[in-house]
């Protein structure tokens, strides 16, 4: 079976359901919208000396990713879980019985789309907010800025892929979303917030992967990390790989 045929089929699947457009539109609107809001209402006089010293204009553009990523989680989950909730999975696997082709094709198409939307979101967010910040703004050519903005797009794509893997393991929209959203929104932040659990929390996918978006290491009092931007991203890649392999194992082993 030609793998390109599977890619084409998965592309048709993804572009012909409503959930794709609304989740991805939300990623863009929430991220860019809140970034614009933060920067338009930003008052540098309220910063203390330490915050002023570590002020990171790029972070102002990208911190709204924290909210925008929730829609990306939903996108990643739904791409996989609606196959199960609708019963389509049995029709899909009868057409593409090789599980690795089916899963890889679906993940490749959805991750590529998430990457495109992720990059569009991070660059739009960056340029809009830097314009709004005026004198405090920074150019894309400054040190590490291009890496951070591109990294934000990569982060969103990788996050979507991670969620596809988890959804393939759990095979249910409700189960996957109710595990992933609290995990990324609350657990990850909570573990990093406390001194005692920080070392563990830093290795969670969003905290490690998020490091790539930082230009100034300790901006807004963020704690020190034992890894660099790409090191952190590598940790998230490992998490994602584990989720994808887990999803593949479940798909192979369980009855459709």
């Amino acid at each position: 079976m030609a793998f390109t045929a599977v890619l084409q089929s998965e592309w048709t699947k993804i572009r012909t359901v409503a959930s794709t457009s609304w989740t991805l539109a939300l990623v863009f609107l929430v991220t860019v919208g809140f970034a614009a809001l933060f920067s338009a209402t930003f008052d540098p006089n309220r910063l203390d000396a330490a915050q002023r010293a570590t002020f990171d204009p790029t972070a102002t553009s990208l911190s709204s990713m924290e909210l925008g990523q929730l829609a990306m989680i939903v996108f990643g989950v739904l791409v996989v879980s609606t196959e199960y909730s609708t019963g389509m999975i049995r029709t899909s696997l009868a057409a593409v019985p090789r599980r690795e082709h089916f899963l890889l094709g679906k993940m490749a198409v959805a991750t590529a789309l998430a990457l495109a939307v992720g990059l569009l979101t991070s660059f739009a967010s960056f340029f809009l907010t830097q314009a709004l910040l005026g004198d405090l703004g920074i150019g894309i050519g400054e040190e590490n800025v291009l890496r951070a903005v591109t990294g934000a797009g990569l982060y969103l794509a990788l996050l979507a892929l991670f969620c596809m893997g988890v959804a393939a393991m759990l095979r249910s929209s409700v189960a996957a979303i109710s595990v992933l959203v609290p995990f990324f929104l609350i657990v990850s932040n909570l573990l990093v917030g406390f001194e005692a659990t920080r070392t563990v929390g830093q290795y969670l996918p969003s905290n490690a992967g998020g490091r790539i978006m930082q230009v100034v290491p300790h901006a807004f009092d963020s704690p020190e990390t034992p890894y660099g931007p790409w090191g952190g991203f590598g940790i998230m890649v490992l998490w994602t790989l584990a989720a994808v392999l887990g999803g593949y194992a479940v798909l192979r082993k369980r009855d459709a």
Binding site: T12, R90, A95
Partner: protein, 331 residues
């Protein structure tokens, strides 16, 4: 062709499919019959490699289903009419399937036309009635113009018009020389469409025989006689060398192999009054129920009956392809 060998599926301690071995013959309609819960759907899912067998194998053209390249061009299946993404249009549901097996786009229009869904092709399939979903499922089965078609209970829940449509469609597909494997829990439905029968009960193979043989073995025809002068009539028949079975429960006589005309004339010649003279035919449904009575998962119990005393005929013969049916009249 499709061959099952020792196919077994266990869910925990329950054995849903138990060492099932049979072949699906090419170019005919094979009816796959069994009561609800007999393991028909599980077997069909394993044939498409959707469920993993506990042991045993299924081979399609000598290969595992998983190793077929572009399987929709060999096997088309309708297992569950609702196994489509409801948020996608009928056309797009078929298009993504077609693309995965490199089936040309115009074939999607063709099959939509074939099942009569062209007018609603752009509508989301979640608004479809069961009949329309069934047609969409059949369209997906026909997409690759496959040689083998599998349908799981295709008439379930359909209105008479839908049932007739599916029945004629299957006949038409069979006439084109395709291999059709269709499951049902209704013998009467199978008698109309199938050339060959595979019967299972509790996951075990009960029979694998041509439909004609099944009918011949099970639809014994006889003549029922009722007369106020029954003893005289019996003697008369004995003298004529005709074998008679008395059925005390109904007070009737049953005669094999002699026509109603001959019996009527014989009675008239001896001036015996007849209250009934009727040709009878045992129904296939009865024969099927007797065949599977032992293996029905959930028996309906008559009120007041003990739970371990299922309501079924007292004498259940052992069945098999070589079995010659004997009707135990009078028991």
């Amino acid at each position: 062709m499709i061959e099952l060998e020792g196919l077994t599926k266990r869910f925990g301690t329950t054995t849903a499919v138990d060492h099932l071995s049979f072949r699906i013959r090419p170019g005919v309609v094979t009816g796959f019959l069994g009561p609800n819960g007999a393991g028909k759907s599980t077997t069909m899912r394993m044939m498409l490699d959707l469920d993993n067998p506990t042991s045993g194998t299924v081979r399609v053209y000598g290969k595992h289903y998983r190793d077929l390249s572009e399987p929709l061009k060999h096997v088309g299946a309708l297992l569950d009419a609702k196994a489509m993404h409801g948020g996608r249009s009928a056309y797009n549901n078929l298009l993504c399937l077609a693309q995965s097996n490199r089936i040309p786009r115009q074939r999607v229009d063709e099959v939509l036309d074939l099942v009569g869904l062209t007018a609603v092709a752009k509508k989301k399939s979640k608004g479809f009635s069961l009949g329309m979903s069934q047609r969409l499922g059949i369209a997906s089965a026909l997409l690759g113009d496959p040689e083998i078609l599998m349908f799981d209970e295709p008439v379930n829940g359909l209105d008479p018009e839908g049932i007739l449509w599916i029945r004629n469609l299957m006949k038409g597909l069979a006439a084109e020389g395709r291999t059709i494997f269709v499951s049902s829990h209704l013998m009467s439905e199978m008698a109309l469409t199938a050339d060959h029968l595979v019967v299972i009960g509790q996951g075990k193979l009960l029979a694998d025989l041509p439909m004609a043989d099944f009918i011949q073995q099970n639809s014994r025809s006889y003549v029922r006689l009722r007369s106020p002068q029954q003893e005289r009539l019996k003697d008369l028949l004995h003298e004529a060398g005709i074998n008679v079975v008395s059925v005390p429960a109904t007070g009737t006589l049953e005669i094999d192999g002699v026509s109603a005309e001959q019996l009527g004339e014989l009675a008239a010649r001896h001036q015996i009054v007849l209250h009934e003279l009727s040709p009878q035919r045992a129904s296939l449904e009865e024969a099927f129920m007797r065949m599977t009575a032992d293996s029905v998962e959930y028996h309906a119990h008559a009120p007041g009956m003990a739970a371990d005393n299922p309501a079924r005929p007292a004498d259940v013969p052992a069945w098999g392809a070589a079995h010659t049916a004997t009707r135990k009249a009078g028991e």
